[in-house]
């Protein structure tokens, strides 16, 4: 009787999270999996076409191009956000006047809407009269076209992305740093290790669980990068920032190829699963759990 009541109470507590998860994530995912085998223009009923969408996908140059762009974005974003996040975490991993306020300031962009951040950076990097190009002009440098230039557009979306996520990465690494027992660093210092040696031989190896988490989460999130790119460049110029989710949105809502867009989503899901699986497999080689 008691266990039954406990079960009911537990279900009641879980329900507020579980029901939205079911309604907005699990069921749409199942629906997308089914739709990926159909042709559906959103206006007339879907019809079953088997694996045709997946066969089309293999020859789709736009999809391949968007996948490459996504990988380029990740390759640019991840090192920047990690090293800046780590630097901020190391700098703020001690008590000083205003450290709390500093941590809050770093975290502020994280809770700001992507649309606001993207619009702000679009203005900062405005090729004509933007903050950065105006500053460069003062020192006699002709600023680049940023988001209007094929060569600079990816840089233009990576910078705000790293800026916004910096606080989140810093927080995770800060928590990791604070979980390292101080005895290790103290013992190393007593044994004559320099600060540099303590950092590279003690702190960073013991920070690998937090680093692993940052890398896994960042990769999962950034394979799905979309909002900032849609606002800043809409995938342009000349498709230079067109990423996989942009391609999914374009196919589903602009072209009315919902079945094909669902197939793209399934492939993206598979890619993320494989990448995450490989990371979990490889963690034994470099992650130290003390």
């Amino acid at each position: 009787m008691t266990s039954k009541r406990n079960g009911r109470t537990a279900a009641l507590f879980i329900a507020p999270s579980f029901i939205p998860l079911l309604a907005f994530f699990v069921l749409p995912m199942i629906a997308a999996a089914v739709l990926s085998f159909t042709s559906w223009d959103l206006l007339s009923p879907p019809h079953w076409i088997g694996f045709a969408n997946f066969k089309q996908l293999i020859h789709d140059k736009e999809f391949l191009h968007s996948l490459i762009n996504t990988l380029v974005f990740i390759a640019g974003y991840l090192p920047i956000v990690y090293f800046l996040g780590l630097s901020a975490a190391l700098a703020l991993n001690r008590k000083f006047k205003g450290s709390g306020a500093m941590r809050a300031m770093y975290f502020l962009p994280v809770i700001t809407s992507w649309v606001i951040v993207a619009l702000l950076w679009k203005w900062i990097l405005n090729p004509s009269g933007g903050l950065v190009n105006s500053a460069l002009h003062v020192i006699g440098i002709q600023g680049p076209g940023w988001w209007t230039s094929k060569s600079w557009s990816m840089v233009s979306v990576i910078i705000p992305s790293a800026w916004k996520d910096l606080g989140y990465v810093m927080l995770l690494l800060l928590a990791g740093l604070q979980a390292i027992p101080p005895e290790y660093q103290e013992a190393a210092a007593i044994d004559g290790a320099s600060k540099r040696q303590v950092l590279f031989k003690i702190t960073l190896p013991l920070l690998t669980p937090a680093t692993f988490f940052v890398v896994v989460i960042s990769l999962i999130n950034n394979f799905q990068v979309f909002d900032q790119i849609w606002v800043m460049t809409a995938g342009g110029p000349e498709g230079s920032t067109n990423v996989v989710v942009g391609e999914i949105v374009r196919n589903s809502f602009d072209y009315g190829h919902m079945g094909y867009a669902s197939a793209l989503s399934m492939v993206l899901f598979l890619i993320i699963m494989i990448v995450t699986g490989v990371q979990i497999r490889l963690q034994k080689r470099w992650v130290n759990y003390e």
Binding site: L42, S44, N126, P127, S128, S149
Partner: protein, 422 residues
């Protein structure tokens, strides 16, 4: 405690009874009013009040029908509409431009209005401007009634022309006159002020192609024809405007919108739609419009919007009554004309004289002159896909990453692949 509970129950039950009696005693009032939804993009953002005035006039004339206005900006409208159709929440009536009309008509989403109009003895087809009415007829089914039409004209800043000592544009101009004026304007205007704004994109290209004597698609819509010589001439003309520094590059524009640049006095000649008349009325300089210069022949955009009804509407006759009223009733026409809300697609010349009498621009006659040589957009079922394919290659031609000829050949190849799937 028990007593209090009982009292609460008693009051609650009494309340429910009173409400039920109220409904039963007035069943007609509760059931006789038909409510329909109307989804709009052309009223956003400047004409929502005008639309509300139309609805008020309609409801006064048709007291048994209530119209609920729903709106979305043009940029979001078609995404929202598609998701509503997919979710079985299609509005009873909604707006479609001609470019999207074919897609919705082919999918069987639209109501054949002939059935409802046959029952409506007050309706006369001749009230509409014939060409605009007929474009929404597919296979004998009238799937929409035209609400408005519009075109693109050449706006010009008189002050900048005067400053540069250049003669004002006339309806006699062709591309060579425009090029000569643009070159002179560029030479005599300060940096940051541009001579001639005409972007290199699908919407301008198919029109300029028509001016160059070309055709976008074959008559059976199975082959792209825009990569022939007239297409090369058209795209070369468009691209040259940016390459010569007459039209600003995207980097020079930055976050500024082109209409805002014209309004700020930074553009001397501006190819854009007549829907901007109202937003330029307070511009701090003199401006007017002329028919766009032609190439080997004149040619001007012909854009038409329609009010359509959902094939699944539970109130098809009410939907028809509203569609017909909103598009052609004298009361609605008067509101539209007074508000400069495009041009109603009606045949009455006397009603349209109100439009001509308004100022600015002084030369409103250019609008009707432009419509003498209409070029309708090339429309297929996969419209957006075709536009994106063409735009992608036009962008490459503009940046110089591919030649004009190669861009057109590649675009034609992509469009042919899309047409093959139609």
């Amino acid at each position: 405690m028990k007593g209090t509970k009982r009292k609460i129950w008693a009051v609650g039950i009494a309340g429910i009874l009173v409400a039920s009696v109220g409904l039963v005693s007035n069943p007609v009032a509760a059931a006789s009013k038909t409510t329909i939804n109307f989804f709009t993009f052309t009223a956003v953002p400047d004409h929502m009040k005008d639309l509300q005035a139309m609805v008020a006039a309609f409801e006064k004339k048709n007291p048994t029908i209530q119209v609920n206005i729903q709106s979305a900006a043009y940029a979001d409208y078609f995404t929202k509409l598609k998701t509503r159709v997919a979710g079985n929440q299609t509005p009873d009536t909604f707006e479609l431009n001609y470019e999207n009309f074919v897609t919705y008509a082919a999918a069987g989403t639209l109501l054949d209005l002939n059935k409802a109009s046959a029952k409506d003895h007050s309706f006369k087809k001749s009230v509409y401007y014939g060409k605009a009415y007929d474009v929404f007829n597919l296979g004998g089914k009238q799937l929409g009634v035209p609400s408005s039409f519009s075109t693109v004209v050449l706006f010009y800043n008189k002050d900048l022309f005067k400053q540069a000592g250049v003669a004002l544009p006339t309806s006699k101009w062709d591309w060579s006159d425009e090029a000569a004026a643009a070159a002179k304007l560029k030479a005599n205007l300060p940096a940051g002020t541009f001579a001639d704004f005409q972007p290199t994109q699908f919407w301008e290209f198919y029109k300029v192609l028509g001016q160059a004597g070309g055709q976008f698609l074959s008559a059976d819509k199975k082959t792209a024809l825009f990569n022939k010589q007239p297409g090369v001439n058209a795209l070369t003309w468009l691209v040259s405007k940016t390459q010569n520094g007459w039209t600003p590059t995207k980097a020079q524009m930055g976050t500024q919108a082109d209409d805002a640049m014209f309004k700020a006095g930074k553009i001397a000649m501006y190819h854009s739609g007549i829907w901007l008349f109202d937003s330029f009325k307070d511009a701090p300089f003199g401006w007017d419009v002329a028919v766009e210069p032609g190439g080997v022949q004149p040619g001007n955009h012909f854009f038409a919007n329609a009010v359509v009804a959902s094939a699944k509407s539970k109130a098809p006759y009410a939907a028809w009554k509203w569609a017909q009223f909103m598009t052609s009733d004298p009361a609605a026409v008067k509101i539209r004309l007074a508000a400069n809300w495009e041009i109603p697609a009606i045949s009455s010349k006397s009603a349209l004289s109100i439009y001509l009498s308004k100022n600015p621009p002084a030369n409103r006659a250019a609008v009707f002159e432009a419509l003498k040589n209409p070029i309708t957009p090339p429309v297929i079922r996969q419209q957006n896909e075709m536009q994106d394919a063409v735009n992608g290659w036009l962008e490459k031609a503009l940046s110089g990453s591919v030649s004009v000829t190669d861009a057109l050949n590649s675009a034609a190849s992509d469009v042919n692949a899309i047409l093959a799937k139609e």
